[in-house]
Symmetry: C2
Subunit: 569 residues, 2 copies
Amino acid sequence: MPMSILLHAARGETPVDLLVRNCQVVNVLSGEIHPCSVGVKNGIFVGFGEYEAQKVVDACGRFLCPGLIEGHIHIESTLLDPIRFAQVAAAHGTAVVVCDPHELANVMGLDGIRWLLETTRNLPLDIRCMMPSCVPATHLETSGAIITAQDIAAMFKEYPERVLGLAEMMNYPGVLYQDPQVMGKLFAAGERPIDGHAPGLSGFDLNAYILAGPGSDHEACHLDEAREKLRSGMHVMIREGSSEKNLFELLPLVNDFNSQNCSFVTDDRHCDDLLRDGHLDYTIRLAVSRGLSPLRAIQMASINTARYFGLRHRGAVAPGYRADFVLVDDLESFSIFQTYLDGSEISPASWRPAATDLSVTKSVHLGELNSSCLDMAAPMEGKRVRVIRTVPGQIVTEMDMIQALVQNGRVMADPEADVAKLAVFERHHGSGGVGLGLVRGLGLQAGAIASTVAHDSHNLIVAGVSDSDMILAVRTLAECGGGFVCVRDGWVLYLLALPLAGLMSDQEPETVASGLDQLNASARQLGCPENINPFMQLSFLSLPVIPRLRLTDRGLVDVQDFAFTSLVE
Amino acid sequence: MPMSILLHAARGETPVDLLVRNCQVVNVLSGEIHPCSVGVKNGIFVGFGEYEAQKVVDACGRFLCPGLIEGHIHIESTLLDPIRFAQVAAAHGTAVVVCDPHELANVMGLDGIRWLLETTRNLPLDIRCMMPSCVPATHLETSGAIITAQDIAAMFKEYPERVLGLAEMMNYPGVLYQDPQVMGKLFAAGERPIDGHAPGLSGFDLNAYILAGPGSDHEACHLDEAREKLRSGMHVMIREGSSEKNLFELLPLVNDFNSQNCSFVTDDRHCDDLLRDGHLDYTIRLAVSRGLSPLRAIQMASINTARYFGLRHRGAVAPGYRADFVLVDDLESFSIFQTYLDGSEISPASWRPAATDLSVTKSVHLGELNSSCLDMAAPMEGKRVRVIRTVPGQIVTEMDMIQALVQNGRVMADPEADVAKLAVFERHHGSGGVGLGLVRGLGLQAGAIASTVAHDSHNLIVAGVSDSDMILAVRTLAECGGGFVCVRDGWVLYLLALPLAGLMSDQEPETVASGLDQLNASARQLGCPENINPFMQLSFLSLPVIPRLRLTDRGLVDVQDFAFTSLVE
């Protein structure tokens, strides 16, 4: 019996598997750093003491910290497959990841979530997930799947250990107006954690939102907003990701009396940042550089997060906790010397998917493409057309009204005015649905760029100044199962294939990172300026919840009205 | 739908029931004290803000704190019935009590626990309980009931909301040696909280004990012991009760990084102390007087305890939490101005038992008493007898070996040598079982004293220098359903009846407190010296787990051997 074996080992009646000697334990429970030896049996800490051991590791005075815990991340944003993401994260000291497979779910629904859970089953890095709450994100787009309250309840049953709760409830108007489907999802979560997502919500509406269930927030960008949310009982997840960076602004929130209600999360972390700077180890380093005590920073990246999610025996070094720990030379640089997960030093190279599901690589299903599918009829004389104007470095857009360039009764791209054609192809059900529009600000002077990463439904989005290049870009992605592509004059300049649901690569992290560099270099050749990340901009042009004008597979959306609008005024 | 009503109120669309204006919220979540107004609807906090309200209370700048939470108490030790205990506790700011009905369970088993839960059902003060883990406490005594692992599992099912986990696991040898019944009880608790009870346990044995499940400790008397337990992952309950007072010793344990893992509890609190000094408000006052920050002290008496027990929506002032709060004038004196429970100012005088169960008043079932039942045969010439010697103010005893006073072939009490006869009558099943012995140190010069409070099985214990007075004392308690009694020369000097399971009074707290004074005064008339509490001493003489010599209904116990021994050497 496992418990019996542990008790015998804990009492010193049988040797432990591993004894780490000569270390300084960062004890996140007693709030101290104390010298000691730590015994491990069957992947579990049995406790402190000079145990007889099968294997003894001399930590040479290093600090022994609990393995780090990520409380909110979309693994898809790394572009890495979950196993390879785990390999990089573990090397940076991460032991547990609570992910929100929102993108995967929009493409593949429950099957996508199951694939994630199955492929990472038995991985030493412990991957849990929250059930995406908003699939589809809106009624203005066609997603690959619909996730209902019943689906959510079913997944809690199917994966009682690994599906922890309900992921970020972005539909806060649905909560405030008590939309039955939204309320059904909150109800399905029962007493499980429900993550919030309500940027800027305050006052009475915030009170109502919290009452309805969401217990955490990772969207606060301003100190006052975070303070109101903390006061009102939310667990504040301070986000330091690749695009959203809130650490420096929110750190003054943390005091000697409230830090147990705060955690560090990344939300979105790109693979190059992950490789170069790290994961939560980077956040700890950054926070400590700003004066946060290392002990508190480590608590915020371990036990605090475990407790918010009700994860037992995770995030601390004490009897009964899973033996996830890192050895670090000093707490300021927080450079990971070694990571141990489940009682053993990690060997990430040996990590392999536990199960394969080929359906995940066949997620691009287009309707018939023909030469006229990009045709937009010219407006009546004197009428202007709506153009999405991107804002460098931001995901909001503006709406411009212009006189379109017209040839042969069709609206054309107009490179001189920095106006490209934009199309979103429904790519989940092969319906042939396509939304057409214009975009200004990408700088395209030639060719086309396309992506199957296109929030939130991840249809196939393409921008270009040449219809034939646009069609080639679309065909290229359809054939490889999705990705990012640059096309010019009938040639593929660069393809970064993302065959896993059209969202993630199956290649090594270094390959993906250098591929992104080459992809962006190719986009520069098409005219995209240095100050924008063209594929990031492109991937958000289809997100109909952020102002102001967007394009989905079903048409142009004026976000101000949360309704479709026409190209022509 | 209740949630719908709350959301409408939170958004200000309908008036709240109560608005407390002009207060300083002690926010145990954000670790701040901030001015605000607080709205309440249907007994739930809807949040901060200037809500339109049916009723407005001006707090006149007072501090508004969450209602206090008691994490470990044996209500029976107050001698009060649970409703009256709740009335006093609520007036002192207590909102939630997690009790361990260990004494009641030893007398009445599951029916006693059910009675406790039913009689306090729907009380504004929220009473939860932990399932007693050690009934009977030992195999050396006859308890009123046996509680098995199956019983424990059944009660979790029967009271899923109110029975929270497994109460203090005192049988730590049973844990360390993996006694199947003990392990079965730990297993039955599953992921529910399991309270520990392992005074002095340390090192490898402590590690094993914690691994097996117990997650809290309230027995540490020394700072080093508490520190080791905290480091090893136990939630440290700092106890300040009527007899055990650990606050001053353990307070230095609490630092800026660990207080979330510490709580205040009382364990045992006598009704006079409760009336005079208070409950957890007293502990807060005491801790603050020793330099602990009031905010931290309040956290340790509210949210920290709620979280340890997994009590959702208790112990803080924020949307969704039950509207349990106290108004206090200042945080140093922590004098309770008003207590609100479930959204209303308390009116304890109106609190009545929710259900009655007369069986609880008929718990004393003796066998036939006859004149020879106290006879002890004289030892052979020259043989000495074992005598329990009490130690003033402590519950440990010593074992003396003396030449007994003998008359007519019987061992007699010997007042000149301060030796009284001692008897423990089995009082649960009417078996007629009686254990006989001698006790030294009570000072009895005449008459007898008797009690149905006799740890842990609560049989009827009587000490005296006159057989007839002893029998009268026993008969008196049998007739009234139990209590404390002093008898002299055929007269009852004073009877404090405890008809509820022979453990608790059905009278007003003030009556019980003054009754105790009169009882002790009567005992002084029998010769008991001022420096001992005779009924407290008496009630522990039957506890066969504390060194050194004890008497149960089944005979003399040498605790050193954890086995029966004989009167004669």
